[in-house]
Amino acid sequence: MKRVYLLLVGVFAILMALPLFLDNYALGIFVMIFFWAYVGQSWNVLTGYTGHISLGHALYIGIGAYASTYLAQTFGLSPWFGMLIGAIIAVIIALFLGFLGFRFGIRGVYFVIMTIAFAEITRLIVSHVEALGSFSGIFLDFNPSFWNFQFRGNIPYYYISFGFMLASLIAVRIIEVSKLGRFIIAIREDEEAAQALGVNTFKYNMIAIAISAFMTSLAGAFYANYIFYLHPNSLFGIALSIELILRPIVGGLGTLFGPIIGSFILTPLSEISRAYFAKGGLEGLHLILYGILAILVVLFMPKGIIVYVKRILKPILNPKREKP
């Protein structure tokens, strides 16, 4: 077990030192790796651990992005605080969605469809609110300072997104070993059995969706101040919801390191192939490859790539067991 920690500390040290060696473009790719790993982890809390599939998590990213930006532009509030307010709004909406879903017994594909419907309704409403930029979206002004959550160059974004990912890793680990974690995993495995054993499944489902929405919406504020442009279709649209679930599923659904492994594999692939294919006028080809990859993973390694990573690392981490 100690070797696992040694490995993690090693990886941590490398990642901490990486900005010394990489140029701005490469750092940008790492920012996206950490960002998608964080978002995937947040989604994983709900879907990976409770088994309720959300295909509308873009909703929470959009809320985080729009709330922090609106508060910053209208009241001059720092996005550091704005994102907490956004997260609270996201939690309220998630609890409402969760209440309808879990109280009225909307399960499986019906739950999926309801999450999509919530995100789509929000997208359409935001598209018609003048104060939120309606159809044309919002451009953020660039005023780099810590207070404004805006920075020159990718190094600060690198460390912030890295911090986000680490925090999510620790948070999910704490959840995983806590009573809450055991209960929500029990819900995923067999909700009725868990209920019969006295688990208040409604309560724990609600806690899981609230944590997931809270975490996801923080990523929205980061995204807004990294991309500087908000558009309802890209921030609330189903394309984003699909994009953010691919990494945890490819990496390994319901596992601690699955979203991170998935992101380290898919994000560079996506960023590089996007740039490469767009240059050749082949827009969209990278998403086709993506879709094919996701289908292949589900068909041939439904437990995710993490299984193979574990298999490779096993002799390194537990050398004694390998000896006959």
């Binding site: 879709g291 996701a294 439904p302």
Partner: protein
């Protein structure tokens, strides 16, 4: 009732009537799209998250035939439906048959990914711009009293009903249709009496795909195509299917008509771009209070 509402808010009641008729005609196509989805769900218990995207591919194929060969969409309908039939058959045999025993979470992703692939295939082949072909009848209109009816919508509606009836006859009378119904009623039983269930599943998915393809072709003269419109129609099909009850084919048709009218009538009060808010709200309300659909029995 809607005419009364129109009068109350000071609208022209002719306008209300016109919107209702337009909505009803469009609703026939919604019904046809949803019927494909409902058929696939009813037989295999799988929700086809790539449904709208398959329809968009069909629209582009029809558009291509129209632009390159000058064949009117109504004439190329059968060819396009056949092409998408093959596509559906391949999707089912390559992907969906392998995931039927998976937990629901893992069933969602491959079909969502399939939608992603089809959407970007359309983007790759035809580019991101909206295209609206000027077919022979796309601008023709009929006047019945004070109400104007687009000829293309009328033809689409009539053909949609006609195709629906054909599918019913197919399912009731033909051998394959009976096998499909058997496989959907009881998979094990169907295997026991010697039906090749996998092949029947392939045929069912393909038939569902061909149905939505036909709907797409009928839609072509009515609205411009873009690669990204697939999601909207997938969701519309969900709404209609849930309205009519999952797996209920008559429910899908009636649900389509109701949704078409509801969306169209909502434009009296709301901007047209918000009409989907009405349909999604209907969707949530139906799921909460009548998850078996308005025509379902006790669930």
């Amino acid at each position: 009732m809607a005419t009364a509402v129109g009068a109350v808010i000071g609208m022209d009641s002719n306008l209300a009537l016109q919107l209702i008729i337009q909505g009803l005609l469009l609703g026939g196509i919604y019904g046809l799209i949803a019927m494909g989805l409902s058929l696939i769900f009813g037989v295999m218990g799988v929700i086809n998250f790539a449904h709208g995207q398959m329809m968009v591919i069909a629209m582009y194929v029809s558009y291509w035939i129209f632009v390159l060969l000058g064949v009117d969409p109504y004439l190329s309908l059968v060819i396009v439906a056949a092409v998408i039939f093959v596509l559906g058959y391949l999707i089912q045999s390559a992907v969906v048959n392998r995931i039927l025993d998976y937990p629901e979470a893992m069933q969602v992703l491959p079909l969502v990914s399939m939608g992603l692939i089809l959407e970007n295939l359309a983007l790759l082949l035809w580019g991101p711009d909206h295209r609206s072909p000027q077919t022979a009848l796309s601008l023709e209109a009929l006047w019945i009293g004070p109400v104007m009816i687009d000829v293309s919508r009328l033809i689409a509606f009539v053909l949609a009903i006609f195709i629906t009836v054909l599918i019913f006859i197919f399912l009731k009378k033909t051998n394959i249709g009976k096998c499909i119904r058997a496989a959907s009623d009881n998979r094990t039983g169907a295997i026991l009496v010697g039906i090749n269930v996998n092949r029947i599943y392939n045929a069912s998915f393909a038939l569902g795909a061909a149905t939505t393809a036909a709907a797409g072709v009928l839609l072509l003269p009515i609205m411009p195509i873009s690669p990204y419109m697939g999601h909207d129609f997938t969701l519309i099909a969900f709404v209609v299917v849930i309205l009519g009850g999952m797996g209920n084919l008559i429910g899908a048709l009636v649900g389509g008509l109701i949704l078409g009218v509801a969306e169209s009538a909502s434009t009296l009060f709301l901007p047209a771009t918000l009409k989907h808010v009405v349909s999604f709200s209907i969707l949530i309300i139906i799921m909460l209070f009548r998850p078996q659909g308005i025509f379902g029995g006790k669930s």
